[in-house]
Structure formats: structure tokens, C-alpha cells
Symmetry: C2
């Protein structure tokens, strides 16, 4: 880009928004991280009038199930809010290429919402662009997540937008903190070919728990956070034991315990449900262990869950959503 | 000590065991830290026969209320266990000088148990001494805590023995982790002149809580741990908001909310109950703020709780219990 063009608004931009793993066993609704190699692509152009159009949704066989009505779509709603709140006199038209399977527990709706916001942000006039920090952008993306899941949860939105491992708070002010983590931490994500509705997965949870369980889980969560912040794998291992959510949701995922056992026998630090499921994630100390575990987990889904499954091995994605093409 | 004496067992040793603040708002039963300037002193000599004697307990007007029967005393029980489990052919006689007020929520029983273990450890033959790591010593001290509080909680024992800020796990294996914390962190502890029984304070707690509350509290706990590990005061501030225990126990401490308000108005990061109470602690970013807050908190106890109170300002004590005299 030459200096003469520097302040000219872009005509089009494509954002890649990564898949994310929310909860991380003991950080239900508050922790999440982004991965590499899997995500949604949102290609955005400017429209003369302040309106939002979704031209197409492609990439997955099930993409046709997603509404093109921007007011009902997880990527459309954030842009309508953006136009309204920023008082824009122009609009956006987008093509969504889904890479993240629907209802997979890998933050697909968050990725579309964040990808749309990041691509649209790239098309704003420079002055406005500079003003909109990630703290402001996250609020637009949360509006999309609310359409998809019925409530504003930042546990996928935050890692998708910021990258890395994130702590966010429930409620209207997620106040995201990007946490340190061991640089060699390897992530395994395995997705069985089934769809699990987030609302259903939330519906099976009891509304209360014993104080005793809260205390035990708190000690695990504290170990997870401390282990990530201080790069101590033995603490992360302790921190991946979920006493509250996993026991209530495991039955929704055929073969879950066998898949988890296969992962643990492969030497991972821990293994649990990714987001609301049915995907399963694990952390390992090395890529070699992670590759081995991924294959064992896929085999276990086939053998015990009677399901085909796809797996990914990755480092934590510290970039988050970003513009990958622009002109 | 000359080389000739190096391997000769010591005849007597005095240990100082610091006061500790357990819970730290959102780390109920799992987090704790040690302070300076307040603690118990245990002076120990060897006895010919494998028995335990408590010669005297002094230091506080209320010291006479404590039993001299080693089998019922928080400092005696750990030594009886030590003699039994290590198969010692000698015993211990001790004088306990209480510095920590009884029933103050400042880890008095933990300090006596840990002080006794640390002083006795100093009197062991060198070979045995080397074998007994803190991981082993903590189990003896926990036996004393169990006599005092009815269960094995390491949240005072761990910071008293290890020093610093500690994470321990509930149950038989506390598996202590010493966490980093900001080096400039200032601590205020204020003790109103009343006694609160730990069992009573435990008795007011409901046995269950809402999942929603667990999630919110988890986000605060994660912020506290991350804030300490990464020296971010704004996270520590968020982490000191306790939604579960403090609201249930506050009424046991006359003037608590006024004392807390006085602390917050003095600019502390947060303020809550120390252990089971009635002492109150606060964290501040500087010693100057801490001194100011201490005075305001003492005044608030007088004005609203109608009680005299004593206060201490300190850094976190990173040493823990240690031998201060030996021959």
C-alpha cells in the first residue's frame, strides 16, 4: 500500500476467525482459547446505504440451514448494531465461508460474529477505525452470540477476537484478560460427526451445586490458571479435572468416556468437552503426544461412539481473528 | 556453629510461626498467605523418652484456656504423630508463646501446629531431618489443625509452613503450590477484640449454591490467581469480590460492612474476612495506602462495631515458619 492510499478506506476485506474451545474443563463460561487451522472466513464489501446483506453462506453441507436474514444471523446482528451505534451512512455486504461445523462446540457462531466485526472494522474510515478498540468491538460481536445462544457469553467470542487464552467475566462487561500459557502447550480437538444444540447442553445442567463441590472445583480452576500463568504442566493437569459440568453432559456425547480414556492413555495432561460439545479437546506437553492422542481419540469415537470424527492438532492461536485479504 | 558440631543434634530450638490469612475472599478453603510481625513462638527441647510435654502456654490473657494435654492440643498432636510415624526413641517438651489471638481468624491453631513441627524437626538427627521435606511435614501439622477445627484444612497450615501466597487442595493431599504475587503488595489485617468460633462460622454456611453464583465467583477467583501470578493489580481487585462466603458471615462481625467501606474509601484493592473471622484483611498497592486504611478500619470498628481493634500492616511473609534460635 503506497502512502497516497494510506487513508483511503478499503473496498473489501476478508477476515479469518478461528475456532475456539470454551470452558477448558474448569473455567465454565469464563475461559477459552483459539486454535489454528480451523475457522470461518468472512468477505466483506461496502454498500452505499446503511444496510446489511448476507450474499451467501457456504463451506459446509449444512450451511444452507443458516438464515440469510441479517437480523437473525449471528454475523448480521453485530453489523446492524455497528451501523446503528456508530451512525454509519454506509453498509456492508458479506459472504460467509463456514469452516467450523455447526453445533460442534468449537465456537462457530462466535467466529462468524467476530469475523464479521473484524472485516467490517477494516472497511471503516481510518479515524473511526482507530477509535474502535477490541474492548468496543467485543460488544458488537456479543450481540451476534446472543442471537445464536440466547445469552451474551464471551467465552468463545473473547479468544476468537483477542487470540490466545482468555479469561472473561459473565454479564454485560466481559472485561477480557489474555492470560499467559506455556509456549509449548499442544492442543488436540476432535469433532465427532454429530450436532449438539447449545441450548440442549445448557438445559441438562442443574441450577445448583454443593458448596463442597464448588470448593474442590475452585482448587482445580486455581491450579489451571496458575499453571498456565507460570508454565507448570502438573498444575494444568490438575486443573483439567471438571467435577461439575462434564459429569452432567458426558452422556450427550456417545463414547465420551472412552475417547477421554484414549486421550489420557496417550499421555495428555487432561481431556474434556469443548464448549457445549460434542467436540472434545485435550492439552498435551508436546506435539508428538498430541498427534498420537488425536488418532487414538478418533479411533475411540469410531469404536465406541460409532461415529466418524475429525481431529486437529495445534498450538494455541495467539493471533485471534485477523484480516487476511484487503484491497 | 563449628564443623565439629555440625552433625550433633541440637538440644533446643525455637520456631516462629507467622499468622496467616486464609480464603482471601474468593479462594475459600484453598488460598492463604502469611504476614510479618505477628505469630506464635514454640520453644522445644528433647526428652529422653518418646513422649510429648507442654510445659506452658503464655503470651495472651486467654492462653490459660488452652489445654496442656498434648493429645488434645493443636501443637501436641503433630508431635505425637511424628514420634509414632517416624518411630522416634526420644520425645519433645515445649513452651508455647501465643502471639496470635485465639479465635481471631488469623491461623492461630495452624501457627502452633506448624511451629511445633518446625521446632521439633530442628531437633531430629541430621539424616532424618534431610528426609523430611515440607511435603511430609505438612501432614503432621494437619493433624493438629484437625484437632482444632474438626477437619484437615491446609489453607492456614500451608502458608504458615511454606510462606508466601499458597494454593492448597481440600482433602488428604493438600499438594501445596506457592504462587507468585506482586512484590509491592501491601497487606492490612485488623483484629477486633472478640472471638469467633470457626465451627460456628462454618455452621452458618449453606451447603449449596447456585451454578450462576459459582460461575461469577469462578471468574473472580481466576482473576485473583491470574492477577497475583502476573502482578496485575486491577485483576487482584476484581478477584477480591466474594459473592458466596462473605455475605453469609458478615453478620457475625459487628461493623463489618462499615469497616470494609472504610478500607475501600482508603483506596485498598479489596477487603474481606480473614479466615473464619472476625479479623478483616485488605490488600493495597502501597504501604502508604495500607497504613491509612489500617487506621480507618480500626476507627470503623470502634465507631460501628463498638469494639477496640488492633491492626497490622505488612508485606506478604515469604519465609513462613522458621527456626529463630537454636543451640
Amino acid at each position: 500500500m503506497t502512502p497516497a492510499h494510506f487513508n483511503a478506506p478499503l473496498k473489501s476485506a476478508t477476515a479469518f476467525a478461528p475456532a475456539t474451545v470454551a470452558n477448558i474443563a474448569t473455567g465454565f463460561d469464563i475461559l477459552g482459547f483459539a486454535i489454528h487451522n480451523l475457522g470461518d472466513r468472512i468477505s466483506m464489501t461496502r454498500l452505499e446505504r446503511p444496510e446489511v446483506k448476507i450474499e451467501s453462506i457456504s463451506g459446509l453441507a449444512s450451511s444452507t440451514a443458516i438464515t440469510l436474514d441479517p437480523a437473525q444471523n449471528t454475523a448480521g446482528v453485530p453489523l446492524l448494531k455497528m451501523i446503528q451505534e456508530l451512525g454509519l451512512n454506509f453498509g456492508f455486504s458479506m459472504r460467509i465461508e463456514k469452516g467450523i461445523p455447526l453445533g460442534s462446540g468449537l465456537g462457530g457462531s462466535a467466529a462468524s460474529a467476530v469475523g464479521a466485526v473484524v472485516a467490517a472494522h477494516a472497511l471503516l474510515p481510518q479515524e473511526l477505525k482507530n477509535k474502535l478498540t477490541k474492548e468496543r468491538l467485543i460488544h458488537f460481536a456479543l450481540e451476534g452470540e446472543a442471537i445464536a445462544s440466547g445469552s451474551k457469553h464471551a467465552d468463545n467470542i473473547a479468544p476468537c477476537l483477542y487470540g490466545g487464552l482468555t479469561l472473561s467475566h459473565p454479564g454485560d462487561d466481559p472485561d477480557v484478560t489474555v492470560l499467559p500459557y506455556p509456549k509449548t502447550l499442544a492442543v488436540i480437538v476432535v469433532h465427532p460427526e454429530m450436532r449438539l444444540d447449545t441450548k440442549k447442553a445448557r438445559g441438562v445442567l442443574k441450577p445448583d451445586l454443593f458448596l463442597k463441590t464448588h470448593i474442590q472445583q475452585s482448587s482445580h480452576l486455581a491450579a489451571l490458571v496458575a499453571g498456565c500463568c507460570t508454565s507448570q504442566f502438573h498444575l494444568i493437569k490438575k486443573g483439567l479435572v471438571d467435577l461439575i459440568i462434564e459429569p452432567q453432559r458426558a452422556h450427550l456425547i456417545p463414547g465420551f468416556y472412552e475417547v477421554k480414556r484414549a486421550a489420557l492413555e496417550s499421555g495428555v495432561l487432561g481431556c474434556s468437552i469443548s464448549g457445549a460439545g460434542p467436540s472434545v479437546f485435550a492439552f498435551a506437553e508436546s506435539m508428538q503426544i498430541a498427534e498420537h492422542a488425536k488418532n487414538a481419540m478418533i479411533q475411540a469415537f469410531k469404536a465406541h461412539g460409532k461415529m466418524e470424527a475429525q481431529g486437529w492438532v495445534s498450538e494455541v492461536n495467539s493471533d485471534g481473528a485477523r484480516v487476511v485479504e484487503a484491497e
